[in-house]
Structures are given as structure tokens and as C-alpha cells.
Amino acid sequence: MSKVAAIKPDKRARTLITPEGLALPLTLAARGARAGALIIDMVIIVIGLIAFQWVMQALFEGVMEGIGFESQQRVPGSAEFLVIISVLIGFAAWYGYFLVQELGPRGATLGKRLVGIRIAARGGARLTPEAVIARNLLRDIEVFYPLIALLILVGLSSQGEDVGALGIVLTGWLLLFLLFPFFNRDCLRAGDIIAGTWVVERPRTRLAAVLSTQGAATSKGASEVTGVRYDFGEAELSVYGERELQTLERLLRDSQPDALKAVHATICRKIGWDPGAGDERAFLEAFYGQLRSRLEADMRFGKRKADKFS
């Protein structure tokens, strides 16, 4: 495994050492996934706030009508209460949405969950409330303030006002922070740096079936089609290594007939057998079972064969 990983170094792969001393692979979230998550979150917040304001507006008008409000001078207490509620709810939604969800057991907002990522403390430390607060306070200057200011500027300039160089400055500011993750190895945004966090992929793997209990891979397994039991000798099994074994495993699990046929032909050519047709799966299952048995037996004696070249 580790040797295979060394051949194809994934730029986003990181290792986490648990307190038990176990090295766990982590994958940093792709920048595109993070941008997508942020967009989803912003859409949710904005739509939620607009819907909320709309309800409040309806309530406000209802209150005004209900009391027969006419004068422009005094706002009644009930209407004022609604204004306070909307300001406070707006503030709480802005910060609470990210804070509460990222502090939860999933460590992810709704948008992050949808794209399958979560936040974690850098280097395997424990995620703390302080870190979550810090990374979310920074988001304001990174995205929201320049974005809102830009929108206001666009509105002003469409009314024919001269906004000068401010637009360029704000665009530069926005770009600087949006592109920040491209300028460091760990795809950190400014808030991640301040908080000591990073964003990682959330693996979701189901436990696959056991291959050595099915079909021709079992110890006495024979082909269902022909009733023949495939037996491979020492010379035939020594052709391949772990990497080929795991490719074969993937093919057997996917079980695409065309792919199985092609691999069957390749293996037969390699080990000098005459490739028949119609019984590819049983052949491959038997080959997989016996190759794995042999490689694992060697493994127990500390002998590993990474691939066919070694």
C-alpha cells in the first residue's frame, strides 16, 4: 500500500497520527468543493433571511393595520419589537449558522456536508470552539464585506455616480482572499491560518463483500460453468504483485464483463495459458484467491512484492 502511494503521490494526501500511534490517511478538500460548499451555504442563508424578512414585513404591516396606524411620528411598540427581532435574528443567522454547525459532531455546515467535506484541526489536534469562532470571524473580511461593498458600488455606478478607483481596490481585496488557498500547500484560507484548521474530505466507504467466500475463490471452489477447478503453480503466481492484485480486486467488485474478458486474456498470455472463453469470472476469482493467498503468506514472513516489476 504505502509503496503504491509513494509511486503516485497525491498532492492532497496528508497523514494524521492518532494518539494510538496509528497513521491515518487524510485527503484535503479540493478548492472547488470548498467554493461549492460556500456558495450553497450563502444561498441557504440569503434565501432564509429573505424569507424571514418577508414574513416580518407581512407581520409588520399587519400590526400597522391592526392598530389603525396613521401618524408618521411614532412607531408602536409591537412594530418596534419586530424590528429588533429581525436585526438580532439577522446577526444570529450570519454567525450562528456556521458556528453551531461546525461545532456539531459533523464539523460541517449544510453546504460542506452536501459536498462531503468537514473541518478539522491541523496536525491532528483537537478541534476547539475557539478555532471555529476564529475561522468564521475571518470569513467576513475575506468574502462578505468586500462582496457587499462591491455590490453597493455597482449599484452606485449604475446610477451614474463616479466611484473612482475604489472598485478596483475592492476587487483586488476580494481576489486576494479568494485566491489565498492557491498560494499555500494545504489550501488554507486566511481564516484557516488564524484558527489552525484545515478542511478535509469526509470518507464514506461501505464495507464490501468478502471475496474469498464467493465462487471460485474459495479453497475448494470450482467453476460453476465447467466444473473445472483452476490451480495455479508457483511460476504462474509469481508473475504479479500487490498492485496487480488490487487492480484485479477492483475489477471483480465492479464485475464489468468486457473488462473481465480483457484482463482474462492478458493474464493468460502472461502466464502462458491458452485463453478460453465463457468462464472468465471463475478463472479470475480463482487466480485472485490463490495470488492473494500466496502474497499474504509471503507478507507474514516480511516479504512483500509491490508490483510485477519488483
Binding site: V87, P105, E130, A134, L138, I141, T205, L211, E296
Partner: protein, 359 residues
């Protein structure tokens, strides 16, 4: 580990019963089949924890969680040395990682953290920023003096600092009566609470900006402080011209002692991050920034609370309480309260708080 237990672990009954262990041809698959029940039970507990917090989980499961986590972790390290089944290895790696996030995840929810924050965490964080607070205070005083001197030399600066609004009474050349009128109280409390809510939104946004700008080595934070205090200095100069500086100070002090203290703290928090990034000391820059950022974030939560208090003070007592001495009493009491809370309040550090601080 008998069958009835296993069926209860699977809960929703989606999972097919594992095949007979003896039927597996490979030793590594037998290893897997023997332990699969524990892995699936762990997965089930994790799924429930991620979905709904701890309350919906039976005590027995919660007690079993650390043991199951270690079982899965040791299974993984054995499997890495004995098994070539890539699918099982990938599953175990994902499972152990998920379990690690739960077992070593945030130890306290927001409510519990907040309690620790009010009872000691906040004042501890403020005290740990003492140097930055001193620098920020110096900068603020300088800013006020600069504002005063600028306007005293050239009145045009006043209009540059306060772009004159229509009908604004507070302009150079205003009479004593006009200025006094701006300090007067409202007749009733109508409309003031909405005013308070807006003030709060506005002020806390300024404070968060001052904090977040600390990222650029703290310099923009300091500039923001200078700018805000220059406005204050100019205002002081204006009222001083009519001999009203004491009245203005009383009027400002009602909420100003809280609000300016909050602005001071947020500027100091920003500066703290900037300083840690510019002079990280023995730590790598990223670690230094992260440690400073976490300390400052605690202070910033406090600043938001101070802004709520300040907005309430600004809307109600300042507009309703008349008289210089009454205003000074309120402002002075608030200042004394904050100072004693931050400096004198030192509860003993509990284990949980110590853990949160160390992290």
C-alpha cells in the same frame, strides 16, 4: 458476541448476515469476518452520533465507543500487515478516521464552552493580551490627540472627518445652545430599542473588522483605531470651543466606557494576531498565528457581548438620564465593572477550562 447482540447492532436490518467464517479461504478474510461485527457496531454508533448528538445514544453504546474505536484501530494496523484486501483496508481507514473525529472531537458543546467563557475564560484571555491592549490604548489616545490637533489647526479637517450631513448641528461655529441640544435626552423610550439593535449591529461589525484586519500584521487594525479616535478628538475639540467638554464626556461615558473598551479589545486582538505573525518567536509562523488567533477569538466573543451592553446603554440610559453627574455615575460604574472583571476576577482553573486553554 452472540447472534442476538449482533442483530441489535445492525439496527435497521439493512446489512446481510456475514458469511460463515469457516468458509473463507484466506486467513486475512477470516480475520475480517471475526471482527466485522464490532466494526459495524462502531459504524452504527458513529452514524447516530453524527446525526443527532449524544442524547439519542444508549449509555452502553457510549461506554463501548472508546473500546470499539481502539478495536478498529488495532484491526487496521494488523490488517495493514496481513491483508491485501484493498476494499477492507479503505473501509477501516475511513471508519477509524470517522471514529477519531468523534472520540477526539470537540469535547464541549457551545453551551458548556460559553459557561466556562463567562466564568473565567474571558478575563483570562483578556489578561493574556495585556501587551497588545497597552499598545492599542496608546494608539487610541494618540489618535484622539491627533484628531484634536488636526481640527484645531485647520477647521477644514472637521468636515473631512465628518462629511457634513444635512441638518447636522454639530459643526464648527455652532452655538452653545445648539450643541447642548444634541446632548439632551429623549422624552420617552419609544423607538429607542430599535435604535439599540441597529447600533449593536453596526458597532459589532466595526469591531469584527478591526479584529479581522489584524491578519495584515495588525497595521489596518491600528489605522482603524486611529481613525475612530480622531473622530472623537475632533468632537471633543468642537465642544471644548463652547466650554462643554465635561458635558460631552459625561454624555459619551454612559456607553462609551463600554464601547471604547470593546473597540480597544478588538483592536488589541487584531494586533495580537498581527504581532504573532510578524514575530512568531520560536514557533513556526502558522502555529504562532493559530495560537494567537484562538486566544483572540475568545476576546472577540466577549467584545460582541460588550457591544450588546453598549448599545443598550446608548439607547436607553444615555437618551433618558439627564445631568452630568448621573451620566458619569453610570459610565464610571460600567468602567469599574469591566476593569474589575478583567483584572481582579481570577477563578481557579478547572480541568475542563485548562484543557480548552491548552488546546
Amino acid at each position: 458476541m452472540k447472534a442476538p447482540v449482533i442483530s441489535s447492532w445492525f439496527g435497521r436490518g439493512q446489512v446481510a448476515a456475514p458469511p460463515d467464517i469457516e468458509s473463507a479461504a484466506l486467513r486475512s478474510d477470516r480475520f475480517r469476518l471475526e471482527r466485522e461485527g464490532d466494526w459495524r457496531r462502531l459504524e452504527d454508533i458513529l452514524a447516530r452520533m453524527e446525526r443527532g448528538g449524544l442524547r439519542r445514544i444508549a449509555d452502553a453504546d457510549l461506554i463501548a465507543l472508546p473500546a470499539l474505536y481502539r478495536t478498529a484501530a488495532s484491526s487496521l494496523s494488523v490488517a495493514r500487515e496481513t491483508s491485501l484486501d484493498a476494499a477492507t483496508l479503505a473501509y477501516l481507514e475511513a471508519l477509524v478516521q470517522r471514529a477519531w473525529f468523534q472520540v477526539y472531537g470537540p469535547r464541549q458543546g457551545f453551551i458548556r464552552w460559553f459557561r466556562g467563557f463567562i466564568f473565567g475564560g474571558w478575563s483570562r484571555a483578556v489578561r493574556s493580551l495585556w501587551l497588545d491592549i497597552c499598545i492599542a490604548l496608546f494608539v487610541m489616545v494618540t489618535g484622539a490627540v491627533v484628531g484634536w490637533l488636526l481640527v484645531a489647526q485647520d477647521e477644514a479637517w472637521y468636515y473631512r472627518l465628518f462629511p457634513a450631513g444635512f441638518g447636522e448641528a454639530r459643526v464648527p461655529g455652532a452655538s452653545r445652545e445648539q450643541l447642548l441640544a444634541t446632548l439632551a435626552t429623549e422624552n420617552s423610550a419609544d423607538g429607542l430599542s430599535a435604535f439599540a439593535a441597529q447600533l449593536f449591529g453596526n458597532n459589532s461589525a466595526v469591531c469584527i473588522l478591526a479584529f479581522a484586519l489584524g491578519f495584515a500584521f495588525g497595521i489596518p487594525s491600528l489605522l482603524l483605531l486611529v481613525h475612530n479616535m480622531a473622530l472623537l478628538g475632533a468632537l471633543l475639540w468642537l465642544f471644548d470651543g463652547q466650554g462643554l467638554v465635561v458635558e460631552l464626556a459625561a454624555w459619551l461615558s454612559v456607553h462609551g466606557t463600554t464601547e471604547l473598551f470593546g473597540i480597544l479589545l478588538s483592536g488589541a486582538a487584531g494586533l495580537h494576531i498581527g504581532r504573532a505573525m510578524a514575530f512568531p518567536g520560536k514557533l513556526p509562523v502558522l502555529d504562532a498565528a493559530a495560537a494567537a488567533g484562538r486566544r483572540s477569538a475568545v476576546v472577540m466573543v466577549g467584545v460582541v457581548i460588550m457591544m450588546i451592553v453598549a448599545a443598550l446603554l446608548e439607547a436607553f440610559p444615555r437618551q433618558l438620564v439627564d445631568g452630568t453627574s448621573g451620566r458619569f455615575v453610570i459610565g464610571g460604574t460600567m468602567l469599574a465593572f469591566w476593569l474589575s472583571y478583567f483584572i481582579l476576577y481570577r477563578p481557579r482553573i478547572t480541568d475542563a477550562a485548562a484543557g480548552a486553554d491548552a488546546a
